[in-house]
């Protein structure tokens, strides 16, 4: 048995029955990383020694009869989540040597639950991108086809789960950064509702949409991780209280599935359109009811997002000035010059592009026309969703407009890269929970590549969302990759 290929639920049963130990499970994951990461480059920093200690502690807890959904389960975390004593780079030169003094809340919660942190995964620099190609440490490769991108920005996490480096990984999603790489890599990516999971210790990108969530092999596993990491935290004032238990329902009969026509226009790849049609039919076979509807302001989601996001980035990244932490240049000059040198050298091209764009849209004379206009359009987008959820319980839409693209295919044209997020940014702007699950494969250059379907629900409806995703997953019977 290759224990690293297990789902969380399968490993749970074996760990509890004593047929498997946390240490054996950890070693299987480490062996797979050792064997395969030279080709994928998904892992930036390994946490081997501490992970071995944590695994033996988990084995003691298991031997003492302790139960816990994630006790002894190894995972990887995106490298924009702070980990005490273990380097956190955000895949940027500016933080290349940064070691955080404390853990992100999600890391602490997983630690208490007995999950085992294996290491940190690659991402687009500061999570700016959808291919991992903006990482200062080089791109991650897609395990289905090494010449293709894994998606991004949580591309390292998605590739790692698809290649069985770990049983789950954490990602962050600002405008699609969990869902899109999950779709490109044929795994499950769940973006919780805004405020459901504490962001304390997540390196801020767009504070009005940033969410941390799980990338897993199954929907059930996503629910298990979510239940551990969700909840109110005094260190993130945007978190809301209340139980976050997901009661996954087997029966979804009567569930109203909305099909917004704007997401099914001619720009969608025909094979993806066919997979989505099949996904719809599977949901109907499970008892769901279709509702044709319209989200008329969908076309404004990308332009609004690419005003709001850079604006918040330009503000959030102002703190990286080289004074208290991060890269600092040598030589003389005054403080202003010192800032400019540190930032000009430390940030990569995409981070600088977004800082420039955001600084422009917030600057005197342009603020009203860009930032304020985008936030007003955002209100229209939010209303579209509010209206839609009067008629339906969940929405079924594509995750991606086409399968994973080639490394280098898009990184000279920033606008075409931004359009990768076409189906993803609207739910982010509205703060809605959304999940991508694999629903099929399409052949490209003789290689099978995964296709994702996205389900979106209203703010407090994660239960319906994940139940529908699980019902769909059961009918898809997607065969996971066995990356050797």
């Amino acid at each position: 048995m290759e224990a690293n290929r297990l789902t969380i639920s399968e490993a749970r049963r074996l760990l509890d029955s004593g047929e498997l130990t946390a240490t054996k499970l950890l070693e299987a994951c480490l062996a797979q990383i050792e064997k395969a990461d030279k080709r994928l480059r998904a892992v930036l920093t390994l946490n081997e020694a501490a992970a071995r200690l944590a695994a033996s502690r988990a084995d003691e807890r298991l031997a003492a009869g302790e139960k816990g959904s994630l006790l002894g389960i190894p995972y990887l975390a995106k490298d924009n989540l702070l980990t005490k004593g273990l380097r956190t780079t955000a895949s940027s030169k500016i933080l290349e040597k940064y070691v955080a003094p404390y853990n992100a809340t999600v890391i602490n919660k997983l630690d208490e639950a007995g999950a085992i942190l294996l290491g940190k995964t690659n991402l687009d620099e500061f999570a700016h991108g959808c291919s991992t190609e903006t990482s200062a440490f080089g791109p991650t490769h897609n395990p289905w086809d090494l010449s293709r991108v894994p998606g991004g920005s949580s591309g390292g996490s998605a590739a790692a789960v698809a290649a069985d480096f770990c049983l789950f990984a954490l990602g962050s999603d600002t405008g699609g950064s969990i869902r899109q790489p999950a779709a490109f890599c044929g795994v499950v990516g769940f973006k919780p509702a805004y405020g459901a999971v504490s962001r304390f210790g997540l390196i801020s990108m767009t504070s009005s949409t940033d969410v941390i969530g799980p990338i897993t092999k199954t929907v059930k596993d996503a629910a298990l991780v979510y239940e551990v990491i969700a909840g109110a935290d005094t260190k993130d004032a945007n978190t809301y209280p209340g139980a976050r238990e997901i009661g996954l329902k087997e029966d979804i009969s009567g569930l109203r599935v909305g099909l917004p026509k704007e997401y099914y226009d001619d720009s969608l790849n025909p094979q993806i359109a066919a997979s989505l049609e099949q996904a719809k039919n599977w949901l109907l076979a499970a008892g769901a009811v279709p509702v044709e509807l319209s989200l008329p302001n969908t076309k404004y989601a990308i332009p609004a997002y690419y005003v709001i996001t850079p604006s918040e980035i330009s503000s959030n990244l102002a703190r990286f000035d080289g004074v208290a932490w991060g890269y600092r240049s040598e030589g003389s000059g005054d403080l202003d010059h010192f800032y400019k040198k540190n930032r000009g050298f430390g940030f990569g091209p995409e981070a600088k592009r977004r800082i420039m764009l955001g600084t422009f849209s917030l600057s005197s004379g342009y603020y009203e026309a860009y930032y304020k206009k985008a936030q007003a359009v955002r209100t229209l987008i939010n209303r579209d969703f509010a209206d839609a959820f009067l008629e339906c319980d969940i929405l079924l839409v594509p995750t991606q407009p086409h399968p994973a693209f080639k490394l280098g295919e898009k990184n000279t044209d920033p606008l075409s890269m931004y359009l990768e997020d076409i189906y993803l940014t609207a739910p982010s702007l509205a703060g809605l929970p959304a999940i991508s699950i694999p629903v099929g494969l399409m052949e490209k250059d003789g290689v099978d590549l995964p296709i994702g379907a996205q389900l979106i629900a209203s703010l407090s409806n994660e239960g319906n969302l994940l139940s529908a995703a699980q019902a769909l997953e059961a009918r898809v019977a997607f065969m996971p990759l066995k990356f050797a």
Binding site: W325, Y327, K340, R343, G344
Partner: protein, 94 residues
């Protein structure tokens, strides 16, 4: 197209040192992106207020209480800077 003067002004506001090649490149790229963003002008927003908060919360209050911070974390948090006692050395301002 943003001219070099505008790009330099934005870079100055953003405290970014850019090479001449970067200035030219960003001028072209930002102009293309802004052209696309102009699509927003087609949206009628005359009757809506800008979004200031998504989610389920309004104001969240707590009392402003100091909590102790472990000494080792303070030292670690400033790990790449120049410390003198409990102060950080910076370049001259004027």
């Amino acid at each position: 197209m943003l001219d070099t003067k505008e790009v330099k002004h934005i870079a100055d506001l953003a405290r970014l040192e850019l090479s001449a090649a970067e200035e030219k490149n960003y001028g072209t790229q930002l102009a293309a992106i802004l052209d696309y963003i102009d699509l927003l002008n087609e949206a009628d927003t005359s009757s809506v207020a800008p979004t200031i908060q998504v989610g389920q919360l309004s104001n969240v209050w707590r009392s402003d209480e100091a909590v102790s911070w472990p000494e080792d974390e303070i030292e670690m948090s400033l790990n790449s800077s120049e410390l003198e006692g409990r102060q950080i050395k910076v370049k001259r301002v004027l």
